[in-house]
């Protein structure tokens, strides 16, 4: 589904991604871990098409298409979803209205008829149960005055509504208490299918207790320096990132 080859990217002339290689297949959950500043969020942003980042090398293929050629909205319509680390507020625009536009934009791209108001509201009802989000929240301005937990839940709710092929969760666990974390993670798990894939970007292992990854990758200094199964996350939890850092410094194989 997603093939990243030797991806390099800069921001303000500074190289952040220094040759990323990653392949994600349908049905898989990949966790990308790493210390602060290693390039995790940059990778998520570059995949979503944020234009502050300049891609300087490499290729990204998504469902057989050149992802880097596409505008951010085309990527979204093709089925890439980014759950933001810091979801933005849009005053005066209700989540409901926002999502109605988004859902129908994506449906149009897939050659489907737009949903009418009734069908849309039914879909909202169904999906809001998945992430245990309060319906009244959806009538309010998008993310405005939402708590940190409500914002993250709203991200996962949007993911449920848009039914993406590939979801990228960027530090979705940050700022969540343990109950909210469980609800959000359960939502993600329920949305998992054999057709879609998930990339979980996280600093801590605890989210991975709920969203069990098939693969764990350690990103450090712009490169994936170690990959493994879910047990790698536990190892990182126990030992921290320092052993990885020093191993990279010494230039030895990890």
């Amino acid at each position: 589904m997603l093939k990243i080859k030797n991806l390099r990217a800069n921001i303000d002339g500074k190289e952040i991604l220094k040759g990323i290689n990653l392949e994600v297949k349908p049905g898989e959950v990949h966790a990308i871990m790493g210390p602060n500043g290693s390039g995790k969020s940059t990778l998520a942003s570059v995949l979503a098409g944020r234009d502050e980042y300049e891609v300087t090398g490499g290729t990204v293929e998504f469902a057989g298409k050149d992802l880097l050629e596409m505008a951010p909205e085309e990527r979204a319509r093709e089925g890439i979803f980014l759950a933001f680390q810091y979801p933005v507020e849009i005053p005066g625009v209700s989540t409901t209205n926002f999502l109605k536009t988004a859902v129908n934009e994506i449906r149009q791209h897939r050659g489907l008829e737009p949903l009418d108001a009734v069908a849309f509201l039914n879909l909202m009802k169904e999906k809001s149960k998945l992430v245990e989000i309060d319906q009244s929240l959806l009538k309010r301005s998008l993310n405005e005055g939402f708590s940190g937990g409500e914002k993250k839940r709203n991200e996962i709710f949007q993911m449920a509504m848009l039914e993406p092929k590939l979801s990228i969760l960027d530090e979705t666990d940050s700022g969540l208490d343990i109950d909210a974390l469980r609800i959000v993670a359960n939502g993600v798990t329920k949305l998992k299918s054999r057709e879609n894939a998930t990339i979980v970007v996280t600093h801590y292992q605890r989210l991975l207790n709920y969203i069990v990854p098939d693969f764990v990758h350690v990103l450090y200094n712009g490169k994936i320096v170690k990959s493994g199964g879910k047990e790698l996350a536990l190892e990182l939890e126990e030992k921290g990132y320092d052993w990885i850092k020093s191993a990279v410094k010494e230039g030895s194989e990890i």
């Binding site: 979204a76 319509r77 979803f81 980014l82 625009v93 209205n97 934009e105 994506i106 791209h109 848009l162």
Partner: protein, 481 residues
């Protein structure tokens, strides 16, 4: 010698006579402004002597005035002798139904998306359409007539209801009020008149569409709305103009009079041609709008969505004379490219316990300049007057300007006056967030802007709100790279 000059000579060479109009073949007055032109317009319109006198008084006063320069806009000097002050579409017979309207004219309406027949059928909006200077047709007049409501063109009102026009015209905006009001009073060609009798709630939105069609014409419409004791009316005004290279002048006057416990709601969606991307052409929209809350517990509410015009200069105001009366002003002003807007309101508190509320949302894009200018004045006698003002500015890009000029004058210690102001930018973050959900940048901007303006758009009647939302999106097209 051209026909029009001949006619002009005939008019000026003889005393003014009623019924002269039938002899005139031409539809336009020659360029320029003079006493003769004022007489010409009055004669064209078969006006009674008192109306002509009124116009001449205004014209003579206008001659003593100089164009105001205090507003925060700049434009080359207007040559008032290079403007055609009267231009009528080629319509002769009086119309009995919509079917008699010139098909080409109806096409124009259709292009504007306001097919009269359709509006009539679907929305039940009564429309008084003004193209250039003459009211083409007024719908629903009969139905309204049953309730005693008068809704007609100003020309008809002068003919059919002279006592009402005489009593109220110029009482809120006197002919001597300001440069453009004086000009309008001298040369106004048509407009709408609306009278709601005591205790009547007007069952439909009354609507007027103005459109400037011919080249080099100024449009000087005059609107007068009187709501008697305990009555209610909601009035919609929409404006458009085709694209032209040269600048056209639009100097309208609107007067509202709200008696005891009466309410007037006046909504405008102004989409005059704003000029091209380089600032060439466009309408100069210099308008005087004012309402007076004459009676106790009366209310006047202005809502405006201003997206067009090269220059907008207007301050829909309310004089709160009656005790416990309420004035409201809700405004969205969008400027893009080289557009300039200096707009706001005046709330004059005279009566006791009077309340006013101002919500102004400015949006500047491109190289445009957008100013809010508002006066809140509390007079000595106005015990417990309250005002709340909120002025927000939204900037798009880094070459535009947003300015706020609030004036507050309080002469009574019991008054409460609040003013809040914010300035913000549409964030790249917000746009990217929308992009990531499948919306393209134009859609994202439209959505963010509509959200920002929601408080004002909510004040508009339903079908107008939809149109206004679309207009906002169109006006800002290409403003985010």
């Amino acid at each position: 010698m051209s026909d029009s000059t001949k006619i002009l000579e005939e008019i000026t060479g003889s005393d003014y006579k009623y019924g002269f109009e039938t002899k005139i073949e031409n539809e336009s007055a020659p360029k320029g402004l003079s006493e003769e032109i004022v007489r010409f317009i009055s004669a064209k319109k078969n006006e009674p002597e008192w109306m002509l006198e009124w116009r001449l008084k205004a014209y003579k006063h206008w001659l003593t005035l100089t164009e105001p320069k205090w507003q925060n806009v700049s434009y080359p000097a207007i040559n008032y002798q290079d403007i055609i002050y009267y231009s009528a579409p080629k319509q002769k017979a009086k119309l009995n139904s919509l079917d008699e309207v010139d098909p080409e004219l109806r096409d124009t309406f259709k292009k504007l998306g306001i097919s009269l027949d359709e509006q009539k059928r679907l929305t039940g909006v009564a429309v008084d359409a003004v193209i250039d200077s003459v009211s083409v047709t007024t719908t629903y007049k009969e139905k309204l007539g049953e309730l005693g409501i008068i809704f007609c063109s100003m020309s008809e009102a002068i003919k059919d209801h002279p006592e009402l026009v005489k009593k109220y015209l110029g009482t809120v905006v006197p002919v001597t009020d300001n440069y453009f009001a004086a000009l309008n009073s001298a040369v106004f060609s048509d407009g709408s008149f609306c009278y709601i009798p005591e205790g009547v709630r007007c069952p439909m939105e009354l609507s007027t569409y103005f459109r400037i069609n011919a080249a080099n014409t100024g449009q000087f419409e005059r609107t007068l709305i009187v709501a008697e004791k305990g009555s209610y009316v909601s009035y919609l005004e929409g404006c458009t103009a085709p694209m032209r290279d040269e600048n056209q002048l639009h100097a309208a006057v609107v007067e509202l009079i709200s008696m005891e416990k009466a309410e007037i709601k006046y909504s405008t969606v102004q989409n005059w041609y704003p000029g091209d991307k380089n600032g060439k052409g466009g309408i100069y929209n210099f308008v005087t709008k004012r309402g007076i809350c004459m009676g106790d517990y009366s209310k006047i509410s202005w809502t405006q969505v201003e997206t067009g015009s090269a220059i907008t200069w207007k301050y829909p105001s309310v004089i709160l004379k009656g005790d416990n009366s309420t004035g409201e002003f809700y405004s969205v002003a969008v400027t893009n490219n080289y557009q300039q807007a200096d707009t706001g309101t005046k709330m004059i508190h005279i009566g006791k316990n009077t309340k006013s509320r101002i919500v102004s949302k400015g949006i500047s894009a491109g190289k445009s300049q957008n100013s809010y200018r508002g006066l809140v004045e509390v007079m000595k006698r106005a015990d417990n007057a309250r005002n709340f003002s909120q002025c927000d500015s939204l900037l798009m890009g880094d070459q535009c300007g947003a300015h706020t000029f609030p004036y507050i004058e309080v002469k009574n210690n019991s008054a409460t006056v609040e003013h809040e102001a914010t300035t913000s930018k549409i964030g790249e973050d917000q746009i990217f967030y929308c992009n990531q959900r499948g919306l393209d940048t134009e859609q994202a901007v439209a959505m963010i802007v509509n959200g920002y303006c929601k408080e004002v758009l909510n004040q508009l009647p339903m079908e107008f709100a939809v149109e206004a939302q679309k207009l906002l999106a169109i006006s800002l097209e290409g403003s985010v790279g």
